[in-house]
Protein backbone atom coordinates (compact mmCIF):
# COMPACT_ATOMS: atom_id res chain seq x y z
CA UNK A 1 0.00 0.00 0.00
CA UNK A 2 1.26 3.51 -0.79
CA UNK A 3 2.49 5.73 2.02
CA UNK A 4 -0.52 7.82 2.99
CA UNK A 5 1.70 10.67 4.14
CA UNK A 6 3.17 11.52 0.75
CA UNK A 7 2.27 14.87 -0.73
CA UNK A 8 0.28 13.14 -3.47
CA UNK A 9 -2.30 12.13 -0.88
CA UNK A 10 -2.55 15.63 0.60
CA UNK A 11 -4.55 16.94 -2.30
CA UNK A 12 -8.27 17.43 -1.84
CA UNK A 13 -10.58 14.80 -3.26
CA UNK A 14 -14.10 15.70 -4.29
CA UNK A 15 -16.40 12.94 -3.10
CA UNK A 16 -19.94 12.46 -1.85
CA UNK A 17 -20.51 11.35 1.74
CA UNK A 18 -24.05 10.36 2.73
CA UNK A 19 -25.44 12.41 -0.11
CA UNK A 20 -23.40 15.55 0.64
CA UNK A 21 -20.67 16.88 -1.63
CA UNK A 22 -17.50 16.72 0.47
CA UNK A 23 -13.87 17.71 0.01
CA UNK A 24 -11.46 15.46 1.86
CA UNK A 25 -7.74 15.08 2.31
CA UNK A 26 -8.22 11.47 3.38
CA UNK A 27 -6.58 9.02 1.00
CA UNK A 28 -8.48 6.01 2.23
CA UNK A 29 -11.92 5.14 3.52
CA UNK A 30 -10.43 4.50 6.96
CA UNK A 31 -9.01 8.03 6.96
CA UNK A 32 -12.34 9.46 5.86
CA UNK A 33 -14.20 7.71 8.70
CA UNK A 34 -11.80 9.28 11.20
CA UNK A 35 -11.88 12.69 9.47
CA UNK A 36 -15.69 12.77 9.49
CA UNK A 37 -15.77 12.01 13.21
CA UNK A 38 -17.19 8.49 13.00
CA UNK A 39 -14.27 6.65 14.58
CA UNK A 40 -15.96 6.44 17.99
CA UNK A 41 -19.32 5.07 16.89
CA UNK A 42 -20.35 1.81 15.23
CA UNK A 43 -20.69 2.49 11.52
CA UNK A 44 -20.75 0.43 8.34
CA UNK A 45 -19.46 1.68 5.01
CA UNK A 46 -20.11 1.31 1.31
CA UNK A 47 -18.35 2.92 -1.65
CA UNK A 48 -20.16 3.30 -4.99
CA UNK A 49 -22.84 0.89 -3.84
CA UNK A 50 -20.49 -1.87 -2.69
CA UNK A 51 -20.05 -2.88 0.94
CA UNK A 52 -16.56 -2.22 2.34
CA UNK A 53 -15.88 -4.17 5.52
CA UNK A 54 -14.24 -2.39 8.44
CA UNK A 55 -11.02 -4.38 8.02
CA UNK A 56 -10.85 -3.36 4.33
CA UNK A 57 -11.22 0.39 4.90
CA UNK A 58 -7.51 1.09 5.29
CA UNK A 59 -6.81 -0.41 1.87
CA UNK A 60 -9.81 1.24 0.19
CA UNK A 61 -8.31 4.23 -1.63
CA UNK A 62 -10.62 7.15 -2.35
CA UNK A 63 -10.96 8.60 -5.84
CA UNK A 64 -12.61 11.78 -7.08
CA UNK A 65 -16.30 11.20 -7.61
CA UNK A 66 -16.58 8.34 -5.14
CA UNK A 67 -19.96 8.00 -3.49
CA UNK A 68 -19.53 6.95 0.14
CA UNK A 69 -22.28 5.79 2.49
CA UNK A 70 -21.61 5.70 6.24
CA UNK A 71 -24.53 4.07 8.06
CA UNK A 72 -25.50 3.18 11.60
CA UNK A 73 -28.39 1.42 13.31
CA UNK A 74 -31.71 3.23 13.63
CA UNK A 75 -35.36 2.69 14.43
CA UNK A 76 -37.10 0.49 11.90
CA UNK A 77 -40.16 -1.60 11.26
Amino acid sequence: MADTHTSATERLREITVNGRATRTTAATLAGLVVEQGFAEGRVATAVNGDFVAERARAAARLRDGDNVEILSVRQGG
Binding site: G37, A53, E69, V73, R74, G77
Partner: protein, 285 residues
Amino acid sequence: MNQTEPLRPSSQAPAPQPLTFYGETIASRILLGTALYPSPHIMSEAVRASGAGIVTVSLRREQARGRTGQRFLDLIRALSVRLLPNTAGCRTAREAVTTAEMARELLDTDWIKLEVIANDDTLQPDVFGLAEAAEELVKRGFKVFPYMTEDLSVADRLIAAGCRVLMPWGSPIGTGRGLANPQAIKTLRAYYPDVPIVIDAGIGAPSHAAQALEMGCDAVLLNTAVARAQDPVRMAAAFAAAIDAGRSAYEAGLIQPSDRAQPSTPVAGTPFFDLGPDGPGSKPL
Protein backbone atom coordinates in the same frame (compact mmCIF):
# COMPACT_ATOMS: atom_id res chain seq x y z
CA MET B 1 -66.49 -37.89 34.23
CA ASN B 2 -65.39 -37.80 37.86
CA GLN B 3 -65.76 -34.20 39.03
CA THR B 4 -62.51 -34.29 41.02
CA GLU B 5 -60.39 -35.24 38.02
CA PRO B 6 -58.49 -32.38 36.48
CA LEU B 7 -59.55 -31.38 32.98
CA ARG B 8 -57.16 -32.59 30.33
CA PRO B 9 -56.76 -31.20 26.87
CA SER B 10 -58.52 -33.20 24.18
CA SER B 11 -56.28 -35.84 22.68
CA GLN B 12 -57.32 -34.55 19.25
CA ALA B 13 -55.83 -31.08 19.76
CA PRO B 14 -52.37 -30.70 18.25
CA ALA B 15 -49.60 -30.47 20.80
CA PRO B 16 -48.28 -26.92 21.13
CA GLN B 17 -45.44 -26.50 18.66
CA PRO B 18 -42.61 -24.15 19.50
CA LEU B 19 -41.87 -21.50 16.89
CA THR B 20 -38.45 -21.77 15.27
CA PHE B 21 -36.73 -19.48 12.81
CA TYR B 22 -33.75 -21.05 11.10
CA GLY B 23 -33.44 -23.61 13.86
CA GLU B 24 -33.69 -21.11 16.71
CA THR B 25 -36.60 -21.49 19.09
CA ILE B 26 -38.50 -18.24 19.62
CA ALA B 27 -40.60 -17.77 22.74
CA SER B 28 -42.85 -14.97 21.49
CA ARG B 29 -45.05 -14.79 18.41
CA ILE B 30 -44.76 -11.01 18.18
CA LEU B 31 -41.99 -9.30 16.28
CA LEU B 32 -42.06 -5.58 17.02
CA GLY B 33 -40.75 -2.64 15.06
CA THR B 34 -38.88 0.14 16.84
CA ALA B 35 -39.96 3.17 14.76
CA LEU B 36 -42.60 5.89 15.19
CA TYR B 37 -42.96 5.79 19.00
CA PRO B 38 -43.54 9.04 20.93
CA SER B 39 -40.24 8.53 22.78
CA PRO B 40 -37.41 6.02 23.18
CA HIS B 41 -38.66 5.24 26.68
CA ILE B 42 -42.17 4.38 25.44
CA MET B 43 -40.64 2.23 22.71
CA SER B 44 -38.66 0.27 25.31
CA GLU B 45 -41.71 -0.16 27.53
CA ALA B 46 -43.83 -1.27 24.57
CA VAL B 47 -41.27 -3.92 23.64
CA ARG B 48 -41.36 -5.22 27.20
CA ALA B 49 -45.16 -5.16 27.36
CA SER B 50 -45.45 -7.03 24.07
CA GLY B 51 -43.14 -9.79 25.22
CA ALA B 52 -41.46 -9.64 21.81
CA GLY B 53 -38.25 -11.61 21.57
CA ILE B 54 -37.30 -10.06 18.24
CA VAL B 55 -37.33 -6.39 17.24
CA THR B 56 -36.63 -4.87 13.86
CA VAL B 57 -34.18 -2.06 13.21
CA SER B 58 -32.98 -0.22 10.13
CA LEU B 59 -29.74 1.26 8.80
CA ARG B 60 -29.61 4.96 8.08
CA ARG B 61 -26.98 7.57 7.30
CA GLU B 62 -25.08 8.59 10.40
CA GLN B 63 -24.95 12.33 10.91
CA ALA B 64 -21.53 13.90 10.77
CA ARG B 65 -19.73 13.63 14.11
CA GLY B 66 -22.86 12.15 15.65
CA ARG B 67 -23.24 9.04 17.73
CA THR B 68 -26.94 8.66 17.13
CA GLY B 69 -26.61 5.07 16.01
CA GLN B 70 -24.52 4.10 19.01
CA ARG B 71 -27.02 5.65 21.44
CA PHE B 72 -29.91 3.84 19.79
CA LEU B 73 -27.99 0.58 19.77
CA ASP B 74 -27.26 0.92 23.50
CA LEU B 75 -30.97 1.46 24.16
CA ILE B 76 -31.98 -1.58 22.13
CA ARG B 77 -29.28 -3.82 23.58
CA ALA B 78 -30.65 -3.07 27.05
CA LEU B 79 -33.88 -4.83 26.04
CA SER B 80 -32.09 -8.18 25.67
CA VAL B 81 -33.99 -9.06 22.52
CA ARG B 82 -32.84 -10.47 19.23
CA LEU B 83 -32.32 -7.83 16.52
CA LEU B 84 -33.63 -8.29 13.01
CA PRO B 85 -32.19 -5.57 10.76
CA ASN B 86 -34.22 -4.61 7.68
CA THR B 87 -33.34 -3.28 4.25
CA ALA B 88 -36.21 -0.77 4.31
CA GLY B 89 -36.07 1.81 1.56
CA CYS B 90 -34.02 -0.32 -0.83
CA ARG B 91 -35.32 -0.19 -4.38
CA THR B 92 -33.04 -2.73 -6.05
CA ALA B 93 -31.59 -6.12 -5.22
CA ARG B 94 -28.12 -4.63 -5.26
CA GLU B 95 -29.01 -1.95 -2.69
CA ALA B 96 -30.60 -4.58 -0.49
CA VAL B 97 -27.61 -6.92 -0.65
CA THR B 98 -25.19 -4.10 0.21
CA THR B 99 -27.41 -2.96 3.08
CA ALA B 100 -27.64 -6.53 4.39
CA GLU B 101 -23.84 -6.82 4.39
CA MET B 102 -23.58 -3.55 6.32
CA ALA B 103 -26.19 -4.74 8.83
CA ARG B 104 -24.40 -8.05 9.33
CA GLU B 105 -21.19 -6.26 10.21
CA LEU B 106 -22.85 -3.69 12.48
CA LEU B 107 -25.04 -6.10 14.41
CA ASP B 108 -23.10 -9.34 14.09
CA THR B 109 -26.15 -11.22 12.84
CA ASP B 110 -26.81 -13.13 9.63
CA TRP B 111 -30.55 -12.54 9.97
CA ILE B 112 -31.98 -9.99 7.56
CA LYS B 113 -35.50 -8.75 6.93
CA LEU B 114 -35.31 -8.35 3.19
CA GLU B 115 -37.32 -5.48 1.75
CA VAL B 116 -37.13 -4.44 -1.88
CA ILE B 117 -39.79 -1.81 -2.48
CA ALA B 118 -41.46 -1.38 -5.86
CA ASN B 119 -43.51 1.75 -5.37
CA ASP B 120 -43.33 4.69 -2.98
CA ASP B 121 -47.10 5.07 -2.75
CA THR B 122 -48.07 1.46 -2.12
CA LEU B 123 -44.79 0.32 -0.53
CA GLN B 124 -45.46 -3.03 -2.12
CA PRO B 125 -42.65 -5.54 -2.40
CA ASP B 126 -40.84 -5.71 -5.74
CA VAL B 127 -41.13 -9.47 -5.91
CA PHE B 128 -38.65 -9.75 -8.79
CA GLY B 129 -35.94 -7.81 -6.99
CA LEU B 130 -36.86 -9.66 -3.82
CA ALA B 131 -36.27 -13.08 -5.39
CA GLU B 132 -33.01 -11.90 -6.94
CA ALA B 133 -31.73 -10.47 -3.66
CA ALA B 134 -32.85 -13.52 -1.68
CA GLU B 135 -30.88 -15.86 -3.94
CA GLU B 136 -27.74 -13.76 -3.58
CA LEU B 137 -28.08 -13.31 0.17
CA VAL B 138 -28.60 -17.03 0.80
CA LYS B 139 -25.42 -17.69 -1.23
CA ARG B 140 -23.64 -15.23 1.05
CA GLY B 141 -24.78 -17.07 4.15
CA PHE B 142 -27.68 -14.88 5.24
CA LYS B 143 -30.85 -16.17 6.85
CA VAL B 144 -33.47 -14.25 4.94
CA PHE B 145 -36.86 -13.07 6.26
CA PRO B 146 -38.51 -11.83 3.05
CA TYR B 147 -41.17 -9.10 3.11
CA MET B 148 -43.36 -10.41 0.31
CA THR B 149 -46.79 -10.33 -1.24
CA GLU B 150 -49.15 -13.16 -0.29
CA ASP B 151 -48.72 -14.81 -3.70
CA LEU B 152 -47.97 -18.54 -3.74
CA SER B 153 -45.73 -18.30 -6.80
CA VAL B 154 -43.58 -15.73 -5.00
CA ALA B 155 -43.37 -18.05 -2.00
CA ASP B 156 -42.28 -20.88 -4.31
CA ARG B 157 -39.45 -18.75 -5.70
CA LEU B 158 -38.30 -17.65 -2.26
CA ILE B 159 -38.35 -21.18 -0.87
CA ALA B 160 -36.40 -22.36 -3.92
CA ALA B 161 -33.89 -19.58 -3.23
CA GLY B 162 -33.36 -20.92 0.27
CA CYS B 163 -35.68 -18.80 2.43
CA ARG B 164 -37.04 -20.79 5.36
CA VAL B 165 -39.41 -18.10 6.65
CA LEU B 166 -42.20 -16.39 4.69
CA MET B 167 -43.38 -12.89 5.61
CA PRO B 168 -46.42 -11.99 3.49
CA TRP B 169 -47.98 -8.58 3.93
CA GLY B 170 -51.47 -8.40 5.41
CA SER B 171 -52.11 -5.09 3.69
CA PRO B 172 -49.79 -2.19 2.79
CA ILE B 173 -47.34 -0.95 5.43
CA GLY B 174 -48.89 1.47 7.89
CA THR B 175 -52.48 1.13 6.65
CA GLY B 176 -53.78 -0.95 9.54
CA ARG B 177 -56.36 -2.59 7.27
CA GLY B 178 -55.68 -6.14 8.42
CA LEU B 179 -55.62 -9.21 6.20
CA ALA B 180 -56.71 -8.05 2.74
CA ASN B 181 -56.52 -11.55 1.25
CA PRO B 182 -57.00 -14.21 3.92
CA GLN B 183 -57.69 -16.89 1.30
CA ALA B 184 -54.20 -16.47 -0.16
CA ILE B 185 -52.70 -16.67 3.33
CA LYS B 186 -54.60 -19.93 3.88
CA THR B 187 -53.17 -21.21 0.61
CA LEU B 188 -49.61 -20.38 1.74
CA ARG B 189 -50.28 -22.16 5.02
CA ALA B 190 -51.60 -25.24 3.22
CA TYR B 191 -48.71 -25.44 0.75
CA TYR B 192 -45.97 -24.76 3.30
CA PRO B 193 -47.14 -26.33 6.57
CA ASP B 194 -43.60 -26.56 7.92
CA VAL B 195 -42.35 -23.06 7.01
CA PRO B 196 -42.95 -20.30 9.56
CA ILE B 197 -45.35 -17.67 8.22
CA VAL B 198 -45.17 -14.19 9.73
CA ILE B 199 -47.75 -11.58 8.71
CA ASP B 200 -45.64 -8.50 8.13
CA ALA B 201 -47.37 -5.14 7.58
CA GLY B 202 -50.95 -3.98 7.61
CA ILE B 203 -52.01 -5.31 11.00
CA GLY B 204 -54.03 -2.55 12.68
CA ALA B 205 -55.91 -4.14 15.57
CA PRO B 206 -55.42 -7.05 17.95
CA SER B 207 -58.36 -8.78 16.22
CA HIS B 208 -56.37 -8.80 12.97
CA ALA B 209 -53.47 -10.45 14.75
CA ALA B 210 -55.77 -12.98 16.40
CA GLN B 211 -57.27 -13.80 13.00
CA ALA B 212 -53.82 -14.44 11.54
CA LEU B 213 -52.87 -16.75 14.41
CA GLU B 214 -56.23 -18.58 14.30
CA MET B 215 -55.54 -19.31 10.62
CA GLY B 216 -52.30 -20.97 11.58
CA CYS B 217 -49.88 -18.16 10.84
CA ASP B 218 -46.97 -18.46 13.23
CA ALA B 219 -46.40 -14.84 14.19
CA VAL B 220 -47.03 -11.21 13.28
CA LEU B 221 -44.64 -8.33 12.78
CA LEU B 222 -46.09 -5.07 14.08
CA ASN B 223 -44.96 -1.50 14.27
CA THR B 224 -47.41 1.28 13.42
CA ALA B 225 -50.39 -0.35 15.18
CA VAL B 226 -48.53 -0.22 18.47
CA ALA B 227 -46.33 2.85 18.03
CA ARG B 228 -49.13 5.13 16.81
CA ALA B 229 -51.72 3.97 19.35
CA GLN B 230 -52.75 6.52 21.96
CA ASP B 231 -51.16 4.31 24.60
CA PRO B 232 -48.51 2.20 22.86
CA VAL B 233 -47.54 0.23 25.98
CA ARG B 234 -51.12 -0.80 26.69
CA MET B 235 -51.68 -1.61 23.02
CA ALA B 236 -48.57 -3.81 23.01
CA ALA B 237 -50.06 -5.80 25.89
CA ALA B 238 -53.40 -6.00 24.06
CA PHE B 239 -51.68 -7.48 21.03
CA ALA B 240 -49.83 -9.97 23.20
CA ALA B 241 -53.14 -11.17 24.67
CA ALA B 242 -54.77 -11.40 21.23
CA ILE B 243 -51.88 -13.36 19.79
CA ASP B 244 -51.93 -15.78 22.71
CA ALA B 245 -55.67 -16.24 22.22
CA GLY B 246 -55.34 -16.71 18.47
CA ARG B 247 -52.60 -19.29 18.81
CA SER B 248 -54.40 -21.18 21.57
CA ALA B 249 -57.53 -21.25 19.43
CA TYR B 250 -55.59 -22.66 16.48
CA GLU B 251 -54.04 -25.35 18.63
CA ALA B 252 -57.40 -26.13 20.22
CA GLY B 253 -58.90 -26.83 16.79
CA LEU B 254 -61.51 -24.35 15.59
CA ILE B 255 -64.89 -25.51 14.29
CA GLN B 256 -65.43 -25.17 10.56
CA PRO B 257 -68.04 -22.67 9.39
CA SER B 258 -71.20 -24.34 8.13
CA ASP B 259 -73.91 -23.25 5.73
CA ARG B 260 -76.55 -24.99 7.80
CA ALA B 261 -77.79 -24.06 11.25
CA GLN B 262 -77.26 -26.72 13.87
CA PRO B 263 -78.97 -26.43 17.28
CA SER B 264 -76.60 -26.14 20.18
CA THR B 265 -79.27 -27.16 22.68
CA PRO B 266 -79.97 -30.92 22.62
CA VAL B 267 -83.02 -31.85 20.58
CA ALA B 268 -83.72 -34.98 22.60
CA GLY B 269 -86.28 -34.22 25.30
CA THR B 270 -87.66 -31.11 23.68
CA PRO B 271 -91.20 -30.58 25.07
CA PHE B 272 -94.13 -30.87 22.62
CA PHE B 273 -91.60 -32.22 20.06
CA ASP B 274 -93.81 -35.15 19.06
CA LEU B 275 -97.05 -33.21 18.68
CA GLY B 276 -96.17 -31.91 15.23
CA PRO B 277 -97.17 -28.56 13.74
CA ASP B 278 -100.92 -29.20 14.14
CA GLY B 279 -100.74 -30.54 17.70
CA PRO B 280 -102.16 -28.78 20.76
CA GLY B 281 -98.82 -27.09 21.43
CA SER B 282 -99.19 -25.05 18.25
CA LYS B 283 -102.62 -23.55 18.97
CA PRO B 284 -102.79 -19.79 18.98
CA LEU B 285 -102.74 -18.19 22.39
